[in-house]
C-alpha cells in the first residue's frame, strides 16, 4: 500500500468517527475546541520536572474518547507515527542532565530522566487531546467554530475547500503511483525526473480541476463571496462542558498536593 493509499484510509477513518451521533458530537464545537486548547495550554505550563502532576489531565482525552466512541488504536497509531521528533529532542535530557533528583530504594534517578519522561507524558497528553477532539467534532464544525471565533473568512473557506478536495487529489495521486509501480517491475523507484513528470502532471490536472470548479461556481451565480451557513447556538450543556473542564484544568494546575507529589 502506498503512502497515498494509507493516507486516504486514515482520512476516511477520521471522517467516519466524526459522523457518529453521540451526545458529545452534539456539543457546540466551540466548547470542544476551546476546552482542548485550554487543556493543552495548562499541560505545557508545568515545569519540566512535573510527572505525577500531569497524570490527572489524562482524564480529558479519556472522557472524550469514551463518550465519543473513539477507539484507542486510532490515537495510538497516530501517536506512534509522529513521536520520533519529540523523542529525538527529549532523549538528550537524560544524557546531558545527570544531576540526581530522586532516590527510589537504591536507584538514583537523574533529573534528566524525569524531564524526559515528563516530556513524553506531555506529548502523549497533548496529542491525544487534540486527536480525540477532532474525531468527535467533525471538520466542518471545527471550521464553523473558527469562523465564529473571528478567524478571517478567507482562511475558513480555504480550510473547507482543502478538506473537500484532499481525498480526490490524493486518490488521483494514488492511481498514478499504482500505474507507475505496475510498469516499473520493482526497480529502484522514482528518479527526480520521473517524479517531476508524475507530480507535475498531477499539478497541471489540479489547475484544470480548479478552473472547472470555478466555472461551476460561476454557473451558480458566484460573486466572490462564499456564504457558509453558521447556525451554532450555545446551550446550557455546552456551557457546562466548557466551564467544567476549564475549572478542572485550573484545579489540577494549582492544587499543591499534586505538585508536592512530583518532587517526592
Amino acid at each position: 500500500m502506498s503512502k497515498a493509499e494509507s493516507f486516504l484510509l486514515s482520512l476516511a477513518h477520521t471522517n467516519r468517527l466524526s459522523s457518529v451521533h453521540t451526545g458529545l458530537h452534539a456539543i457546540d464545537p466551540r466548547a470542544k475546541v476551546i476546552a482542548t486548547l485550554a487543556g493543552i495550554l495548562t499541560i505545557v505550563s508545568h515545569d519540566r520536572y512535573t510527572l505525577i502532576g500531569l497524570l490527572p489531565y489524562a482524564s480529558y482525552p479519556l472522557f472524550l474518547a469514551l463518550w465519543g466512541q473513539v477507539p484507542a488504536g486510532y490515537v495510538f497509531s497516530r501517536l506512534l507515527v509522529v513521536s520520533p521528533f519529540a523523542v529525538f529532542v527529549g532523549i538528550f535530557n537524560p544524557l546531558i542532565d545527570r544531576t540526581p533528583l530522586v532516590q527510589v530504594y537504591s536507584i538514583t534517578i537523574s533529573a534528566g530522566w524525569v524531564s524526559f519522561l515528563s516530556l513524553l507524558l506531555r506529548f502523549v497528553l497533548t496529542v491525544s487531546a487534540a486527536l480525540v477532539m477532532v474525531a468527535v467534532t467533525g471538520f466542518r464544525e471545527v471550521c464553523m467554530a473558527l469562523g465564529r471565533m473571528h478567524v478571517p473568512r478567507a482562511i475558513v473557506v480555504q480550510l473547507l475547500f482543502l478538506h473537500r478536495y484532499i481525498s480526490l487529489i490524493a486518490s488521483e495521486a494514488a492511481r498514478m503511483i499504482r500505474a507507475y509501480r505496475l510498469r516499473s517491475f520493482g526497480s529502484s523507484g522514482l528518479s527526480l525526473k520521473g517524479y517531476a513528470r508524475l507530480t507535475g502532471t498531477l499539478l497541471l490536472r489540479s489547475y484544470d480541476r480548479a478552473q472547472r470548479i470555478y466555472s461551476a461556481m460561476l454557473c451558480r451565480g458566484f460573486d466572490g463571496t462564499i456564504r457558509v451557513r453558521n447556525q451554532l447556538h450555545f446551550r446550557s450543556a455546552d456551557t457546562l462542558f466548557l466551564a467544567g473542564w476549564i475549572a478542572f484544568f485550573i484545579m489540577v494546575r494549582l492544587v499543591k498536593p499534586g505538585e508536592a507529589l512530583t518532587h517526592f
Binding site: 459522523s19 473537500r164 480526490l168 480541476r209 466555472s215 460561476l218 454557473c219 451558480r220 458566484f222 457558509v228
Partner: protein, 254 residues
C-alpha cells in the same frame, strides 16, 4: 414562451491555441423540447455546451438563450436561465455538505433563508436525495453525486437544463434512475452524450455534430437508426437500434 428558447445562428468558435472547434452551427430548440447532442470526441460537443451556459462567448454568429443574446454583459442572466450539469460531479460539489451545495445557487441569488430552505428541500426531494442532505460530497456514490449535482442546478429554477454526459460512470441501476428522473422534468433539456441508448429513450430530437458542424438534425428514432449518417459522423447505432445479436432480426427499417 420565449424564455425557454435556445437559438444558435452560425455559431463559431476557435480556441486560442489552434483548432476551430465550431464553424457555423445553427439550430433552434423550443419550449420543453428534449434534444440530444451527439458526436465523436472532438466534434465540438463540449465547446457548444460551454456556450450554452455562458462559459464561452461566441466569436462568430449569435446564440440566443431565452430573452437575451449571449454576450459578456448578459452572462449573469444566461446563467440563471440555463442550468448546466457538468460531466464530473466532483467539479460541481465543492461545499462541505450536500445541503450547502444545493443552497449555493439560491444563496447567491440573494434569497432570504426561508426561501433557500424551501428550494433546497424541493430540489432534494425531486432528485430523491433528501436523506443525504448532511452528507459530505466525498461520502457519496457516483449515482448519488450525479443526483445531488442535478439538485444543485434545479434549485436555481432554470428554464433550460443542459447535461454533459450524464450517464457516464453510472452503474445500470443508477443510470435507470437518472433516466426516469429526467423524464419527469418539464424543462427544455439538452443532453450531450455518447450513450445513444440513453438519447433514444430520453430525447425526441437529436443533433449530430461532426468536425464543428451540424451533421444532421432530426427525430432521434430516425437518425439513430440510419447507420450511414452515423458512420459518416464516426458513430454507430445504439444497441437498441441494432439487430438481435443472435439472428440479426431488427424491428425498424433502415
Amino acid at each position: 414562451m420565449s424564455h425557454h428558447l435556445l437559438q444558435a445562428t452560425e455559431l463559431g468558435y476557435t480556441y486560442p491555441d489552434g483548432p476551430t472547434a465550431l464553424s457555423g452551427i445553427s439550430f433552434r430548440i423550443t419550449h420543453g423540447e428534449s434534444v440530444a447532442i451527439v458526436g465523436s470526441n472532438g466534434a465540438g460537443k463540449s465547446t457548444l455546451l460551454q456556450h450554452l451556459n455562458g462559459c464561452l462567448v461566441p466569436q462568430k454568429g449569435t446564440l440566443r438563450v431565452g430573452d437575451v443574446i449571449v454576450a459578456e454583459s448578459t452572462l449573469q442572466t444566461v446563467r440563471r436561465t440555463v442550468g448546466m450539469v457538468f460531466q464530473d460531479p466532483d467539479d460541481q460539489l465543492f461545499m462541505p455538505n450536500v445541503y450547502e451545495d444545493v443552497a449555493f445557487g439560491p444563496a447567491n441569488l440573494g434569497l432570504p433563508a426561508e426561501d433557500i430552505e424551501l428550494r433546497v428541500m424541493q430540489a432534494l426531494e425531486t432528485t430523491g436525495v433528501a436523506h443525504l442532505r448532511t452528507r459530505a460530497p466525498y461520502h457519496l456514490s457516483g449515482g448519488e453525486k450525479r443526483a445531488v449535482a442535478i439538485a444543485t442546478v434545479l434549485a436555481v429554477w432554470p428554464d433550460i437544463l443542459v447535461l454533459d454526459e450524464p450517464s457516464s460512470a453510472l452503474d445500470p441501476r443508477a443510470r435507470r434512475r437518472l433516466l426516469e428522473l429526467l423524464k419527469t422534468f418539464d424543462h427544455t433539456k439538452v443532453v450531450a452524450t455518447h450513450d445513444l441508448d440513453f438519447a433514444l429513450e430520453l430525447c425526441e430530437r437529436t443533433i449530430i455534430l461532426s468536425r464543428g458542424n451540424v451533421h444532421a438534425d432530426g427525430p432521434t428514432k430516425e437518425l439513430l437508426a440510419h447507420s450511414e449518417i452515423l458512420r459518416a459522423a464516426e458513430l454507430e447505432p445504439p444497441v437498441s437500434a441494432q439487430g438481435c445479436p443472435m439472428c440479426g432480426w431488427r424491428k425498424s427499417n433502415d
